[in-house]
C-alpha cells in the first residue's frame, strides 16, 4: 500500500526525477542555462541560440545513430573517419570527376552505408568485439582519406553545393536545425513506437533472451550499423557544404564527442536503456557548453577538462538515480 503523502513540491519532484528517463539531462540543462545567462546575459540572445542549435544540429545527426548503437549494446568508433571519407568522396566526385551534385552526394552516402555494412558484418558474423571491429574501420577509412587526398583539402567546392547548408528556414533558421531535429524525432518514434525499436531495446537488455523471443539479431544489428554509417556520412557531407571544402582532418575525435553527448543524455553504454529525447538534449547541452565556454573566453585547451568533468558527473547522477530506483522498486522474496 502506497503511503498517502502530502503532495508537496519535493515529493513530486523526486518522483519526476526518478521516473522520467530524461530528468537528469533536463535538470543539468536548466541549471546550466541559468548559470550561463547570469555569467553572460547575451547567452540567450536569438543569434546565440541559433548558433548553438546550428552547431548541435551537426552533432545530433551522428548522435541519432550512436544512441541506437549504444542502446543495442554496440559501439561504433569509426564514425569520425567515415564522416571525413564521405565528405571527401563527395567532394572529389563533384570536382575531379565533375559529376552532378546529387550524384556526388549519393556517392558519399553510399560510401558511408558501405562502411556501416562492413562494421555490421564484422560485428554480427564474427566474434570480434564491436570496439575492435569499428576501431579497425576507423583506421581504414581515415587511411583512405589520406591516400585519396594526399593530405590536401578539396577546395573550392561548387557554389550550388555550398549553398545547401546555408539555406535558411523562415529567413534565419539554418536548414541543419530543422533537418536534424526531424531526424531525431523520426528516430524517437521508431525507437519508442515500433516493433523494430522494441527489438533494439530488447537486444541491448538481454541479447540471448531477445533471440529466444524470436528477434532476428543479425538483421536488427545490421540495420543499425548501416544506418549509423549513413548518418555519419550525411553529417560529413553537410559539414563539407558548410565549410565549402572537404578537409582530410575533419571529424577526428567526433566519435568520442558523440558518445559523450549520448551518455550525458542518459543513454546507457551497457545497452538497453536511454531515450532519443535525452540524447538530443545531450547534444544540445554539449554545444551550449562549448558555446558559453568560448564566450567566457576559456581556452579550447581547458574546454576538454570541463567536458571530462561533465561527462563523469552526468554518469554519476545517472548511477545515483538507478540505485534509487532499485531501492524503491526491488522487493525480492
Amino acid at each position: 500500500m502506497r503511503m498517502k503523502t502530502k503532495s508537496n513540491g519535493f515529493h513530486k519532484f523526486s518522483d519526476w526525477f526518478l521516473h522520467k528517463p530524461e530528468s537528469g539531462i533536463i535538470l543539468i540543462l536548466i541549471l546550466f542555462v541559468l548559470f550561463a545567462t547570469i555569467v553572460n546575459p547575451s547567452f540567450l540572445s536569438y543569434r546565440n541560440v541559433i548558433n548553438i542549435f546550428r552547431a548541435s544540429g551537426f552533432t545530433l545527426i551522428s548522435v541519432v545513430g550512436m544512441s541506437m548503437i549504444l542502446i543495442i549494446g554496440g559501439l561504433d568508433l569509426s564514425i569520425g573517419s567515415v564522416y571525413a571519407l564521405a565528405a571527401l568522396i563527395c567532394g572529389m566526385a563533384m570536382t575531379a570527376s565533375g559529376l552532378p551534385i546529387p550524384v556526388a552526394i549519393l556517392a558519399g552516402l553510399v560510401i558511408g552505408l558501405i562502411c556501416g555494412a562492413i562494421n555490421g558484418l564484422l560485428v554480427v558474423y564474427t566474434d570480434i568485439p564491436a570496439m575492435i571491429a569499428t576501431l579497425g574501420m576507423q583506421y581504414i577509412a581515415r587511411g583512405l582519406v589520406s591516400a585519396f587526398s594526399k593530405g590536401v583539402p578539396i577546395y573550392p567546392l561548387p557554389d550550388n553545393f555550398v549553398e545547401i547548408e546555408s539555406m535558411k528556414l523562415f529567413g534565419s533558421v539554418p536548414i541543419v536545425v530543422p533537418f536534424s531535429i526531424i531526424l531525431a524525432i523520426i528516430a524517437h518514434v521508431i525507437l519508442s513506437k515500433t516493433v523494430f525499436g522494441r527489438s533494439v531495446y530488447a537486444i541491448g537488455g538481454n541479447q540471448e533472451a531477445a533471440r529466444i523471443s524470436g528477434i532476428n539479431l543479425r538483421q536488427t544489428k545490421m540495420t543499425i550499423y548501416i544506418l549509423m554509417g549513413g548518418l555519419a556520412s550525411l553529417a560529413g557531407i553537410l559539414m563539407a557544404s558548410r565549410l565549402g571544402s572537404a578537409e582530410p582532418s575533419t571529424g577526428a575525435g567526433l566519435e568520442m564527442k558523440v558518445i559523450c553527448a549520448a551518455v550525458i543524455g542518459g543513454i546507457s553504454v551497457s545497452g538497453g536503456m536511454g531515450t532519443m529525447l535525452g540524447a538530443m538534449l545531450g547534444a544540445l547541452f554539449m554545444e551550449a557548453l562549448t558555446n558559453s565556454l568560448t564566450v567566457m573566453k576559456i581556452s579550447v585547451y581547458w574546454q576538454n577538462v570541463v567536458f571530462g568533468i561533465v561527462l563523469i558527473l552526468s554518469v554519476l547522477l545517472d548511477q545515483y538515480k538507478r540505485t534509487m530506483i532499485k531501492r524503491n522498486s526491488v522487493k525480492t522474496s
Binding site: M1, V195, R198, R211, I212, I325, S333
Partner: protein, 505 residues
Amino acid sequence: MKQTVLTVENIIKRFPGTIALKGVSFELYAQEILALAGENGAGKSTLMKILSGIYSHKEYEGKITLNGKECQFSGTAMAENAGIAMIYQELNMELDLSIAENIVLGKYPRTKWGSIDWKQVHIEAEKALSQVGLKLDTNTIVRNLNPSMQQLVSIARALYRKPQVLILDEPTSVLTEGEAKKLMQIICKLRDDGLSCIYISHKLDEIFELCDRTVVFRDGEKISEHRKADGYDSSKLIEDMIGRRLMAMYPSRVEHIGKEVLRIEHFQVPHPFAYGKNMIEDVSFSLRKGEILGLAGLVGAGRSELVSAIFGAMPRNTGRIFLEDKEIQIREPYEAIRYGFGFLSEDRKKNGYIWSMNIRENMTLVNLRSMVKKLFVDAKQEDIVAKEYFRRLEVKAPGLDTMITSLSGGNQQKVILAKWLMSNIRILMLDEPTRGIDVGTKSEIYKLMQELTDNGISIIMISSEMSELLTMCDRIVVLGKGVIQKEFSRGEADEVKLLQAASCT
C-alpha cells in the same frame, strides 16, 4: 536446553509501498539445522540478506545477536568476519580462477613479505575441500567442474572463513537427486562437527530429512514452528506456507492425444564448450497432439541442449525436423516461432527475461508484431492483452509497469510463460519450468499445462523432479550418454526405474 547461537528479534524491513518483514523473531541453536520454509515472496530471502549484511543495519529495524553480542553489519565482509557465511542459490564463483583461488579469495594467506603465500593457499584450500569430502587438484579451473562440484567448492569457500552460522539458500536447485543426497550428508556431518546451519528450500522432502526444526514464513511473518522430534506433518506445513487448504498439487490429467505433430530424426548436438565433443549423439522421437512428453536424465545428459537445438537456439550437426510430416528448416529461434514453437528456457536470468524492461514489455516481446496498427505498436491493444494474461496467471505485482527484476522467481516465470501463451503456439518446450518456484505457483503451472493440452497444444517438458515427470507426462524419454536410454509410457515408470535408466545402469 541447547545453547543459542543466533537470535533474531523483531526484524522489520520496509520497502516503499510494502513491508517485507513484519517483526520476525527466531533463534538458532548450536549444532542445529534450521529450515526456513515459505512461498516465494514470504520474506525468507530478504531476511537472509539482512543476516548476511547485504542490507546494512540502517535499512531495517530490529536486533540481531550472535553469541550474545549485538551485530550491526554494513556489508557482507563484516558479516563473514563475524561468523555468518552464506551460500547463494545461484552459484557465484569466479569461473576462470582455480579452486584454490576461489576458496581463499579476499582472505589470502600472506608470507612475511606481504605477498600471497601460494603454498599455504593450496594447503588451506585442500583442508577446506576435505571438509566437504572432496579430493581435487586445487589448481583446477572452476569452470571445468560440474555444478554440484562447484556448489561444494562454494561451501568449502564458506568453511575456510570458519563460520559459526552457515546459510544455504536453495543449495540443491542445480543438483540432481543423487548429488543432492550427497550434499545433505555433508551438511549433516558439518552440523555434527559443531556448525549451525540455516537451510532454505522449496523441496519439502529435503527439509524433512535434513532439518531439526522448521520455521514457516508467510507474507513477512513467522507463522509456525515444527520440530523433527515431534514428526513433520507435510500437509500441515504446506497449509501454513500457502495459508489455505492444500488443493491437489497436480491436476487430474485428462488426455486427448491426437495425431503426430512433431518428429525429430537423428539429432546430433555438439557440446557448447568442448570442441569436437557431442552433447547429443543420435536422438529421434516424436510428439503427438495434446501430449506431454517428459525428458528425464541427469544434469549434463544434454536435455537442455537437445530442446535448444530443436528451437534453433543452439547449433546442431545433424538432424531433421518434421512438422505434421512435412520437413521444416529451423536455424534460428525466429524461424521456430513462425512454425508455432515456444521455449521456456532453464535460466530465467540468462535468457528468459529482459532485465531492463517492465512486465508489459517482457510479456509482449514475442507477439508484439500482432499488435501493430499502421506501422506503430498499438499501446492500448498491448495493454489490454498484457492485462488479460496478468490477471489470468495471477501475477503478483503492483502493475504492468513494474520492472521484472523486482518480482519473485515464480512471478517472473509467469510473465515469461505469458509471453508464449499469447502467441499462437502449437508446441511448447518447457525446460525446468518449476525450478526455484514455490508450491502454490507450481500447482498453477501444472494446471496451465493441463489447460494447454486440452486446447490441443503439445508440450515437451524437461524436469529433474521425478514426481513432476511421473504425474504430468504421458510419455517419458530418458536421455543418457547422448542417446535415448529408455522410453516409458504413463504408468510404466516409477522413480527407481527412471533413475536406473538415467544413470545408464
